[in-house]
């Protein structure tokens, strides 16, 4: 049953990515050219509503469906891995115009060449995992 739930949320996510055009290379290109508010509006309003919800989760000590208190993991107190890793991701994001979510959504939409991107992304993750201890974090 739980699996069906995640499957349905996934379907909703895929539809939202297509319909918001966030899965379009053109929208990402436009965003990095600062030629439209659209993508900034999407990310900004997602953060704003997300922040409001998180505020009430903390304020009201809300529990999840498994009856566990909802807690937010604090991310590591460093900046190197975020700036370096983030920049590497950003280069790829702009180049193929898709982040990890939209990659899979585009596959469903029938753009089969995105399989090459997905495959390379898995290889990229694998190489990171192998080199992890040698990289500055």
């Amino acid at each position: 049953m739980r699996n069906l739930y995640f499957f349905i949320i996934g379907i909703a996510f895929g539809i939202i990515m297509i319909k918001s055009e966030a899965a379009s290379w053109f929208r990402i290109f436009e965003m990095f050219n600062f030629e439209s508010f659209h993508m900034y509006g999407i990310i900004g309003s997602a953060i704003a509503t997300g922040f409001t919800g998180n505020y009430f989760i903390k304020k009201l000590n809300l529990k999840d469906l498994n009856n566990n208190k909802i807690q937010f993991k604090i991310k590591e107190n460093t900046y190197r891995r975020y700036i370096i890793g983030g920049s590497i991701f950003g280069l790829g994001w702009a180049l193929v115009g898709a982040c990890p979510g939209p990659m899979f959504v585009l596959l469903g939409a029938g753009f089969y060449s995105i399989l090459i991107v997905i495959f390379s992304a898995v290889i990229g993750t694998l190489i990171y995992g192998i080199l992890k201890e040698k990289l500055p974090h």
């Binding site: 996934g10 379907i11 895929g14 379009s24 999407i42 309003s45 922040f51 991701f89 990171y128």
Partner: protein, 185 residues
């Protein structure tokens, strides 16, 4: 119905994305798509190459199911819920694209000049492979992508996520303004 079939405005799309995040949070999960790439590595035997991939795949199954759902969602959204396949980008963006010789925005959702199977020469193949590699390597290095850092992290005021998003833009702006002119002009 027209409202659903046309492109969704940002003030609808953004809150819907955070709704996805909350639907996952209330199930004891977090919204982070790129973790799936790590899980896929583990399934394919990556645990023999690095302890980084020694994870309990079972604990991450829900996320793979989520991403499988999003493939189906992409199919439904694109084939049944879209009147036009083109994207409503601004006129200025169109002018820049035309100067790069990219015209497919008139009819297509993503540039066929880059992605169409028939156009998959050495150059495009290199773009897709290098782009994918940078995404996979970078997201895991940064510990998350747009969903995990820009949406989840920033909505929790996580400082690390702010650095990551600054990185996303450093990389994205470099690619768009310093590399694209070499690639397309």
């Amino acid at each position: 119905m027209d409202l659903i079939l046309s492109s969704w405005p940002w003030y609808i799309s953004g809150p819907l994305i955070s709704m996805i995040m909350f639907l996952l949070i209330f199930n004891g999960k977090t919204f982070g798509v790129s973790s799936n790439l790590r899980t896929i590595c583990s399934i394919c035997g990556g645990d023999k190459l690095s302890i980084f991939f020694k994870i309990k795949v079972k604990d991450h199954m829900w996320n793979l199911i989520f991403i499988f759902g999003s493939v189906i969602g992409g199919f439904i959204g694109f084939n049944f819920l879209s009147q036009s396949k083109s994207v409503e980008i601004s006129d200025k963006t169109k002018i820049i694209l035309e100067s790069y010789g990219i015209e497919s925005f008139k009819n297509d959702y993503i540039p066929t000049e880059l992605f169409h199977i028939e156009n998959l020469g050495i150059n495009n193949l290199a773009i897709l492979i290098i782009g994918g590699f940078l995404i996979g390597f970078g997201t895991r290095y940064a510990g998350g992508c747009t969903s995990g850092h820009a949406i989840t992290g920033l909505s929790q005021f996580q400082v690390g996520s702010l650095y990551a998003v600054i990185g996303f833009f450093l990389g994205g702006l470099t690619m768009t303004h310093l590399v694209f002119p070499f690639l397309f002009l």
